[in-house]
Symmetry: C3
Subunit: 274 residues, 3 copies
């Protein structure tokens, strides 16, 4: 299903510029390399346009935002827009502070974003920032479940229509949507939430997949979500065998991403379209 | 002995805000998750008060301090004080530069700190900053040993009286003291000093334990010290079996923290009170 | 061949001050400890001179440079020069942005650098910044091969003459040169390029080796290059046995550095002088 998506990443080794947080940046760089990309992290206003210009995609992650780096995100984002390169936004902690919510709003106003990837509570904060005050359905829980999946799909499609971006909401069930099509992904393992940065890493992998497949952003994002979830499952199983814990799980997660292939993904992904 | 302390952490999943250094921040986030907490790193003045407000404790670590983040530490610390949330101070490298010593002094003047965790040389620099010039006993070595333990206890109790904080001095023998009671902990392994950030990680775990046990800061800190030391011992033993080195040791350290339980701790901790 | 170099590091536990990037800084600190050094990261202008003063070497890495930290690099570099401590420059991404190239030029103008360590494309950008416009041979490929090795040696010796620094160009074949002597090193494994920061880590190890051997910078740098490459080979072999990937490879790399010894190095290094 996603064979060509994965093969393009390995074949092209796309350069991906990330302005991201310092908590998970090392894992992001390592998983970008593992999945077939080539990461560059640079956040100084005086060079971000140069760096974006030589890259195939831009990832913006507000996990440890500050005034200086937000300014750099806007410069880099405008340059990526001018060059028609995909821009992936990870609105880490949107809703947790006024600054984060306001920054997401500002980024969405000034930059055309191609993919927004977050958990449900973050994406709801994005929706609140992107749209009228009633953009967020207060009845929607903070996780996609079999019970609320129809409502979640409608929410994601609406947000995609409003923003023009592919929307990826990750959790027990992951949902990747544009205005007309939705992928539901049931890969992953709950213990992944006990490693910092699995979300950030997924956004970085999404950046690499989109960079190598700029004409297929929905499929590329869905493929990244499946690959990451599957790596988590495989890592969990190997962790159990070696009687490890979450430190080992993190290492194995990157291991499996470095060994990910179309056939491995096909054999393990659990995805349906709606 | 510390059963309730550990159970509270796993049950409450306390949120802990850290303004910390970029060298060890990823390990701090991972060990916070491993021990049962939920870490948030945020250091921008414009949001730290918001973030502290939704958290159960605040960890301040000056390992890579700068003017911007020191200002944020003060804002966050004052907010934590106003909300009666525990504040843990890790005075990394106090004494190594005038700026660090001065910053510790400023933090102690402007913020009521609940726990101070460092090695002996750092805590001596804190004492010099917190008290009159004779606050530091020049005769006290830079490690707690069986020979100087009485002197070290007196020093720690005095510093606790002066600052109102629980004092945790870690080394071959760890000492956790308030004005009236002292825990001596003999867990740990010398090779832990060859992993960067074991001190920072302990301060983060202390933040999680205190966040879930705000009425028992002395016990929570002692439990964190025991747990971290025991994880180091267990990690060292497993590292030897797999013929690894310090990279593997770091991974196993986080593994054991993720598997830590009251019964495992009870079986392995070596602690006495004075 | 390098016995004394390695023994000096383990015996002296040299302090090394690094102003470096936040992507790979944790691995740099861990590999510094693993190889026998003691790392301090500090980048605030108000303290870098204090920190450099207590250290035995300074590592400057421009991987995530910004205006604030470049200023700190210059202050620290001048202090290191005044105290005759080795300064190692890692020009990460030189050539990728005007800011990086300009910053390298500024650093070389204001600081006497002892060792410059980068890949061929970075070192070519350094040469362009350090010398007249014709400093870079446009015909020189971006990797040292058996075919262009004579040309590469001439280039490295020339750059050493111009800058007064030991030049280390790393790739499939590594080249460590001063004006009169060159080491060619054939250790290493291609998969090391799929771990972020192997170059940064090598520069950090070089800092530790030079700090402990300030009178033998060429030999110390060559030893660091051999040791790092050998660790990569050994890590790759163990990774294959445990059926791991690049996450595991990173862990084993640091493991082997922590277990590196003169006899292990002698048994595995593939080095020749020209």
């Amino acid at each position: 299903m996603f064979e060509a998506i994965l093969e393009n990443v390995r074949r092209k080794t796309p350069l991906v510029h990330a302005i991201t947080n310092y908590v998970t940046v090392n894992d992001c760089a390592n998983i970008a390399l593992a999945c077939g990309g080539s990461p560059i992290m640079a956040d100084e206003a005086g060079e971000v346009e140069d760096i974006t210009s030589i890259c195939n995609a831009l990832v913006l992650n507000i996990g440890t935002l500050n005034e200086r780096t937000v300014q750099s995100m806007i410069l880099a984002g405008k340059k990526a827009n001018a060059l028609c390169r995909p821009v992936i936004l990870d609105p880490v902690g949107a809703g947790a502070s006024a600054l984060r919510t306001k920054t997401v709003q500002r980024l969405l106003e000034e930059i055309k974003v191609s993919v927004i990837r977050g958990n449900m509570s973050e994406i709801k904060a994005v929706a609140g920032a992107a749209a009228d005050t009633k953009g967020v359905d207060a009845g929607l829980n903070d996780a996609v479940t079999d019970e609320n999946v129809h409502e979640a799909i409608r929410f994601a499609k609406d947000l995609s229509a409003k923003t023009g971006a592919v929307i990826a909401i990750t959790g027990a069930i992951d949902l990747v949507a544009d205005q007309s099509k939705v992928y539901l992904v049931r890969n992953g393992h709950p213990l992944m939430a006990k490693i910092t940065g699995t979300g950030c890493m997924l956004s970085e992998v999404t950046g690499c997949y989109c960079a190598a497949n700029p004409e297929k952003l929905l499929e590329a994002t869905a493929a990244a979500v499946c690959a990451m979830g599957l790596c988590g499952e495989l890592a969990f199983r190997k962790m159990q065998k070696t009687e490890g814990g979450t430190g080992t799980l993190r290492t194995y997660l990157i291991d499996y991403m470095s060994n990910m292939s179309p056939s491995l993904l096909n054999g393990g992904m659990r995805v349906e379209t709606r």
